[in-house]
Amino acid sequence: MGNLQNNLFDIFYMDTLAYSKTWIHSLDPRAKVLTTLLFVGIVVSFGKYEISILIPFMLYPVVMITWANLPIIYLIKKMVLLMPFAFFIGIFNPLIDRDIILKINLTFISLIDIARFIDLTKFIEIMGLQNSTGVIEISGGWLSFFSIMIRFSLTVSAALILICTTGFDSICLALQKFRVPGPFIVQLMFLYRYMFVLIDEASRMVRARSLRTFDVDSKMRFSLFVPMIGQLLLRTLDRAQRIHLAMCCRGFDGHIQMIRKMKFGVSEVLFILGWSSVFIIFRLYNIPFNLGIFISKLY
């Protein structure tokens, strides 16, 4: 229950962040939604073994967090919380895809130095990567796993930054302006509005149970969990019905309209153009690769 309510306050905090007053916050939500969509679209457009080319995209979250003055530790915690989803999507890749597609020759003197410096050999051992005669062989599975994790970090951080700088309702409004179908917007808005009520309801039930089990640490039995979830569903249906009544009483006809003053001005256009050109450059040119070639030519 503690966890449930802590999470509730955590979401409250995200809401509070959206009301900050930096220039990023004051941008039209449509500009931020578009840029985020473009960012996510481009990040997921790479092949499954790409890793190095994704690195420059870190620039976007880093710059946005700085400009919008967001608490980085908080965002990292949120990402870690979601990490298991991506982890379990990717973790089976190394088992299935065992073809070696990358070989790093550790006999090359500078690489051995680096390996010693950051204790890479131990890392290789732990990760189960094959290490024969100074050559690390990395299977396609591991590459795609890391690629998934990097993509996850990039896209989720972009989404979190969007919510923390724009607010959920403004995002819905922006989507509405982009002509996303009405029922979808209504669903999103209600999901956000009633998530708080649902968590509250669930935590009240859990509290009621824990007060009558008398044992603070007792875990909930599965046989009890099932009827409680059922009960929660019934309460939710009841509430949904009451909300629908309340909406009908005020003339709801399937569409929700909101009135907000929105201004798509020069700064919005510059914001979108600026970031999209950066993303396109990152997409077209493998910057880390070219940088590597450039540096190796220097020496």
């Binding site: 607010g167 009520v197 909300i243 909406m247 009908c248 009483c249 009135i259």
Partner: protein
């Protein structure tokens, strides 16, 4: 002014499971009247209110709201002239901000965009919470939520205000503010409540329900003096009349 009357003729309602919700209800509420609807739990108060806004359709009998007999055809017109404040404000405040919530009804009524802001602020000022306009409903206190819920309804200027347990879950100060606020409204008011002290202050007329039937309808003070009637309908003399306040 007879066009804001609320009239029930021989109203019956049976729930789909066979439970009798309302049984032969007859009353006529005139323009500007404040009527308390009292009775024990399960007496049929909420069922009756749901009939008045057309959410339940009577099994037998008729309801007339203002100029319209209540049927599916007239539902929109009826809902335009009635405003219902639900028992749980969380059911009523479904929009992302208080402003959007109060504006919701106005937009659906087709009020021009330029006037909406003024009317929203006016409604919020009436209930004394104009400063909450930009807040999210889920962050408000119980009293604030109730005030906003009332604002969402009065913004559309209904002729008839229907309220289900408006003083439940309020702290004494918020309850007092609510009572003072309701006293200033000139709308026809129908208030279902267990708070007999509030009923005594706001409503000159009371309808007592028992097992889906009206067992008394008359002057609030007189009815609340009738201890036998109160006991029969699961009620108790208001504290002010017991000399406890």
């Amino acid at each position: 002014m007879s066009h804001h009357i609320v009239q029930a003729d021989n109203l019956h309602y049976t729930y789909p499971d066979g439970t009798i919700g309302l049984d032969n209800i007859n009353f006529k509420i005139h323009h500007g009247e404040s009527v308390a609807l009292v009775g024990s739990n399960g007496a049929g108060k909420s069922t009756l209110l749901l009939h008045l806004i057309g959410c339940l359709i009577p099994t037998k009998g008729d309801i007339r709201i203002g100029d319209y007999p209540l049927n599916k055809k007239n539902l929109k017109a009826v809902r335009r002239s009635t405003g219902m404040v639900f028992q749980d404000p969380d059911d009523q405040l479904f929009m992302p901000t208080v402003f959007d919530d109060v504006a919701f009804g106005l937009i659906n009524l087709g009020v021009p965009e330029s006037e909406i802001e003024n009317q929203v602020i006016k409604a919020l000022e009436i209930v004394g919470v104009p400063h909450l306009a930009k807040r999210s409903p889920h962050k408000l206190s119980g009293g604030e939520k109730r005030a906003v819920a009332i604002a969402t309804v009065i913004a559309t200027m209904p002729d008839i205000l229907i309220m289900d347990e408006p003083s439940s879950n309020l702290d004494p100060a918020s309850r007092r503010r609510l009572i003072n606020l309701l006293k200033t409204f000139t709308h026809t008011k129908i208030i279902a409540t267990h708070d007999l002290d509030m009923a005594l202050e706001i409503c000159e007329r009371t309808i007592v329900l028992n097992k889906g039937d009206i067992i008394a309808d008359g002057n609030t003070k007189e009815l609340f003096h009738n201890e036998k009637l109160l006991a029969m309908s699961g009620l108790e003399k208001p504290l002010t009349m017991q000399g406890l306040r």
